[in-house]
């Protein structure tokens, strides 16, 4: 067990180093600027207009690992600056995004878990609501956006609504499934002991279905974090998605890659968090 963990860590590092090496080699050759010798003044000016001043590196193009490192350091060393509504530090942007995700996600929990319970307990409701769930589940967040903007008439609420509507389905389906597949024996025992319905729900069904419900929440959280970037790119203003959009405006691949990295790491962090929670409620029969 110990050696497996060690070996896998070693392999991961090896893959990372290989990727960095390939990246370094791929970008090393392209960035050498032509020497500015024997050019007419006009050609020199043209070169300047094209951003090829001798000594000045152009912002566009694929960055080298060193440039990437400098950008990452630049963002991380000053994460809280605030230059007005259109330019904020990365930590502030992340906080905005996480706040939106949290709100949308909590709303989704508030709807999906009780409703999922009801659907799981009642085969009638399950059959009746199933077509709606199946139709609404696969809709992309971006498709909801125009409708939300038109009806809600407020762009930040629309963003939260889109997170809500996209993260509600996996939770709903999983909760319903978890509740429906609680072992018959346990329910029968509860029935013989004449446990009140409320006690039955909280003391028998909820603990039994908890692992499945948390799986649903984990999937939903992943989806909410996926959706936030798209929603913020569309609505703009603040957040990590807006950051990506703004840097895309400037065609700055370095900053976009930095944002991708941050999105990935935060997503992983959220997933780990739910992984822990899931472990905490898992039981062995």
């Amino acid at each position: 067990m110990q050696s497996l963990r060690l070996r896998s860590a070693l392999l991961s590092t090896l893959i990372l180093l290989t990727l960095l090496g390939v990246w370094y080699l791929a970008t090393a050759t392209g960035s050498v600027a032509a020497p500015a010798a024997n050019l007419t003044p006009e050609q020199l000016e043209y070169a300047r207009m094209m951003g090829k001043d001798p000594g000045v590196s152009k912002s566009g193009g694929f960055p080298t690992p060193a440039q990437m490192g400098a950008t990452v350091w630049g963002h991380l060393s000053n994460p809280f600056y605030d230059n007005g509504p259109n330019d904020k530090g990365i930590a502030i942007q992340l906080a905005h995004s996480l706040g939106r995700v949290a709100l949308g996600f909590l709303l989704a929990c508030g709807v999906a878990i009780p409703l999922g319970f009801a659907i799981g307990m009642s085969p009638l409701l399950h059959r009746a609501l199933d077509p709606f769930i199946q139709v609404l589940k696969p809709i992309s967040p971006l498709a909801w956006m125009p409708l939300a903007l038109y009806t809600i008439k407020d762009s930040s609420v629309s963003g939260i609504f889109v997170i809500f509507i996209c993260s509600v389905w996996p939770m709903l389906v999983n909760t319903a499934f978890g509740v429906a597949s609680v072992r018959r024996d346990w329910l029968n025992v509860a029935a013989t002991l004449e446990v009140s319905p409320l006690r039955k729900a909280f003391l028998v069904i909820l603990p039994a279905a908890a692992p499945t419900i948390l799986t649903g929440m984990r999937i939903s959280m992943g989806i909410a974090w996926l959706v936030i970037v798209a929603a913020e790119m569309l609505v703009g203003g603040t957040g990590i998605g807006y950051f990506v959009w703004n840097e895309w405006n400037n065609l700055s691949l370095t900053n976009v890659m930095f944002a991708i990295l941050v999105i990935g790491l935060v997503g992983m962090g959220l997933d780990l968090l739910f992984g822990r929670l899931q472990k905490a409620v898992t039981y062995v029969e």
Binding site: S77, P85, D87, L234, G236, W245, E247, W248, N249
Partner: protein, 467 residues
Amino acid sequence: MTPYFDPYDADRPLMLKCSCGREHTVAEHQQEVASAQAAATLRARSETAEFEAYSNEFIEATLVKALFPQDAVRRRFLRAVGKGAAMSAIASVLPVASLQAMAQEKGALEKKELKIGFIPITCATPLIMAHPLGFYSKQGLSVEVTKTAGWALIRDKMLNKEYDATHFLSPMPLAMSLGIGSTAAAMNVATIQNTNGQAITLALKHKDKRNPKDWKGFKFAVPFEFSMHNFLLRYYVAEHGLNPDTDIQIRVLPPPEMVANLRAGNIDGFLGPDPFNQRAVYEEVGFIHLLTKELWNGHPCCAFGTSTEFIQKNPNTFAALYRAVLTAAAMARKAENRELIAKVIAPAQYLNQPEVVLSQVLTGKFADGLGGIQNVPDRADFDPMPWQSMAVWMLTQMQRWGYIKGDVNYKQIAEKVFLLTDAKKHMKALDQKVPDGAYPKFKVMGREFDPAQAAEYARSFPIRKTT
């Protein structure tokens, strides 16, 4: 203090990074300092008595010019009623009253905290630069200029009243007021933001296909359906015998995506706003085929506008806003300010573009992408007059391409949306002879447009949508 390191300064730590003590590269620091310096210089220039006089006169002159597009009429009117009567007639109207009085006679502001949206393109220059240069705060307004992701969102945020005023594409308020492409909401164009300043950019692989007749099957991008870009591109290819609906494909793409798509080969070219034309050249993926100035010199592009409701509820605030934007326009029109303006609007919170790209757009001395340097000082200009004949032309094109079905009362719509009518109403109340309106004629690709014959004009094109 040297811009780089200052080893002999007793009051600052010597760090082998930026000497201002903050964590950023020296280049970034210099850019920040340059931008702040440029803003300071421009602000100082805007505060000279000379500029204030110039700006006052500029605003008044543009308004008088708008009322009397034909100079002969202006002279006749002035001779007939005398200078004093004419001035008081013009002074009594909104927004002229508060404009002419400038510093004096300002009414109490109804609303001081405003949100204004913009798209990060050079068209929005006056509206943006008014922020760092303090023109809004000088009028007692606390304005937040907010970068917005696309034109559809600008439209929705205006309909939602999240923005108090905004940067528009000039045909948008027409379409919105008519309820085309959205629910109908009365919108107004207060000023035109910019004239000229757009271009057709083609992918480098098409550098031998300069004749539009060879463009059959090309894919082009424009920023929005209701945009001068769309209308001009359609006009241009149709004049060369191509039907824009069947012979080429026109897609709506946000400007930043245009360069990326051009690089990927998804589109063959675009008629887009600057700085993205110049950016395509800078990125070495495209070349400038022609400036839209060559199609229609002095054509409007973007506008500064708000809803009719906002103006009615907040007339004094609107007048203050109008003054701030017009002052900025007066400043932006002067060629000597253009380099500095490029520095002021380049940082991340405004356009987020390399300064060298912006200064080429604004000064008109630019690399064309084919190895040549062109010098076109009026490549971009900021003439603020919302001529109603421009609105009529846009309506004829909307009719021509099937965005409006049936007959159009051109004058009525143009006068409702493009704000000059108030001036005329007030003149009538004062028993002044009302000039016929702001309908100067102009030429589009060599053909004269007469706003009085708009319906015939719209029908006269052999290539149009017939349904």
